[in-house]
Symmetry: C2
Subunit: 384 residues, 2 copies
Amino acid sequence: MGTVSKKDKNIGIVETKYFTFAGPADDLLLESGEKLGPITLAYETCGNLDAAKSNAVLIFHALSGDAHVAGYHEGDTSPGWWDDMIGPGKAFDTDKYFVICSNVIGACKGSTGPSSENPQTGRPYDLDFPIVTVKDMVNAQARLMDHLGIDRLLCVAGGSMGGMQALQWAVTYPDRVRSAIPIATAARHSPQQIAFNEVGRQAIMADPNWNGGDYYSGTPPTRGLSVARMVGHITYMSDESMAVKFGRRLREGELKEKFAPDFEVEGYLQYRGDNFVKRFDANSYLYITKALDYFDLYNGKGLEHLLRGVKARFLVVAFKSDWLYPPYQSREIVKACKLSGVDATYCELNSSYGHDAFLLETEEQEYLVKHFLASVSGGNGNEH
Amino acid sequence: MGTVSKKDKNIGIVETKYFTFAGPADDLLLESGEKLGPITLAYETCGNLDAAKSNAVLIFHALSGDAHVAGYHEGDTSPGWWDDMIGPGKAFDTDKYFVICSNVIGACKGSTGPSSENPQTGRPYDLDFPIVTVKDMVNAQARLMDHLGIDRLLCVAGGSMGGMQALQWAVTYPDRVRSAIPIATAARHSPQQIAFNEVGRQAIMADPNWNGGDYYSGTPPTRGLSVARMVGHITYMSDESMAVKFGRRLREGELKEKFAPDFEVEGYLQYRGDNFVKRFDANSYLYITKALDYFDLYNGKGLEHLLRGVKARFLVVAFKSDWLYPPYQSREIVKACKLSGVDATYCELNSSYGHDAFLLETEEQEYLVKHFLASVSGGNGNEH
């Protein structure tokens, strides 16, 4: 369970960039049939694009993530969310690869989402924002790749919802993806996964401050969003990692009132919930969890048709203690690869961190990713 | 996965009875140090107490249960919550045994709880109701047994929180318990179990109608309580049973509005939540989940001291797919038995129903319980 801090090798200061496609013909036709535009995508890059534009790696974030994947924002003390994996000599080696991460549409971290201004009204979209899917997110990212002049990606990679985007890229743009690394993810959400998301949504919508989604000029539904985040955090950890981290220890000090958090695990959940509402938009939580729930590569087809036509090579990674995206879902992806003649490597890592392992268990992931990328790009991965 | 309806063999019409201990010296000294009184317990009985008063079985309900364990209330179309297990010729054979089930203190089904009248004020207790523990519940039940003239119980049995009461009875009243059947339960709540309860409590307290617990003269916090129940229901089922029951099927008809439940599993959760708030009190949910979380037979001691002095024989039952009360927690109870020289039989059943299995998977449980009770009471269990 090694979580080595690699601050010494980070990529330094990064800045978020913004790309807007706003031309009259630039609207994105969504899966729902609706059109969305103009669209802004927030993104960050690290490393350098080579002359042949052949070393680009597109990283995708999870539900609550953003474009800030590695390095530091000016003045910040914590790095991006996957800094342990991205930098000089790291898994996604920025001495070799040009790494891009873009915030998804529907989100609230600089990309167009329900809190963005609706050009029709001059006010935030609220629930007039159309339902977006993982495929829509990916289609928007393809425009960003066009803008960056990148025709073909060396690799697409991500954990959780990021893994779904990797899968969707490989399927939707077979000629633009040389390899894919879906981590701790699924080809479709199970009813249990839908159910956990639904509880989060219901908690948000039960908050009177949600006000049918129209709260941007008033008080946001922080209590509801906090409860949603608490549910999420339980599913991100494992029974074992909670036992190790908290046990049944009580918090220090007297209880201020009946039913105030007194176990450490309760304090942790409250802390996580309280922090989340400062940085995340409740409507975005609704839209993005819905995109997760609608995600279904099967789409009524058999497993053998899932990845037909895909040209990318796959590295599929799962974690034994991940019960939110259990390994059997990753093994299904591998099976789909094999049935479609897609080259696939599978690795099930022994972490006890649960779903969070894709963020925390970076040491073994580093070896896996390094060798896989070297093999895809023609080297042997052992140069370092 | 046989859930055979045994309506033909049910015990017929039953009525809830009430026992109140209200004498000046009758107050119950709670674990918190506070005193509670007068106390009413709602209870039901089936079968007949033999002349030697040696055939009494005390059944305990789970979090949301009540005293109505078997048979029908006048005019009702559904029987009590464990009717498949209790009746003539059934697991707890009412031709042989006198079965008692009492609602716990803190609850809202006829026993004294936060919605009861506080004799000091003439108004509902609200949060002035003291914190109660599983041990307090059991101590109240002991008064009921005194009232019924039952000195020694042939068996104490229950699933989930009911299993905790069975364990507590065996520990607190070693001379009054001949055998115990804890099912799908734990000797203490893990941080994950605490966390799920805490999310439910936070959902309730986030509802403005909760109003600090003072809502009995106004609108109750139904939205919050409904969300709490939804979380609960996810944990009661297994990933597999949800996949079998709902898959990714959508509900029929057009969506009335964005983010209305459209998957069947979402509709199910909403239905369960909506129904629950009609029959359960939000404050009781807070008090009883807290009693679960505080439950800790270890109490800082080693496993070998857990059941020291216990004289009951144990039948411990767990279900492989139960991830809320995973089998390892039942195996810990068995280990504690063995380490203390307590006679214990363990059976891990292969159900896919998850935690709900203790209510649904009655066929195999029937055999287990029948033979165990026959052995405890001196017969061979095969008379039927």
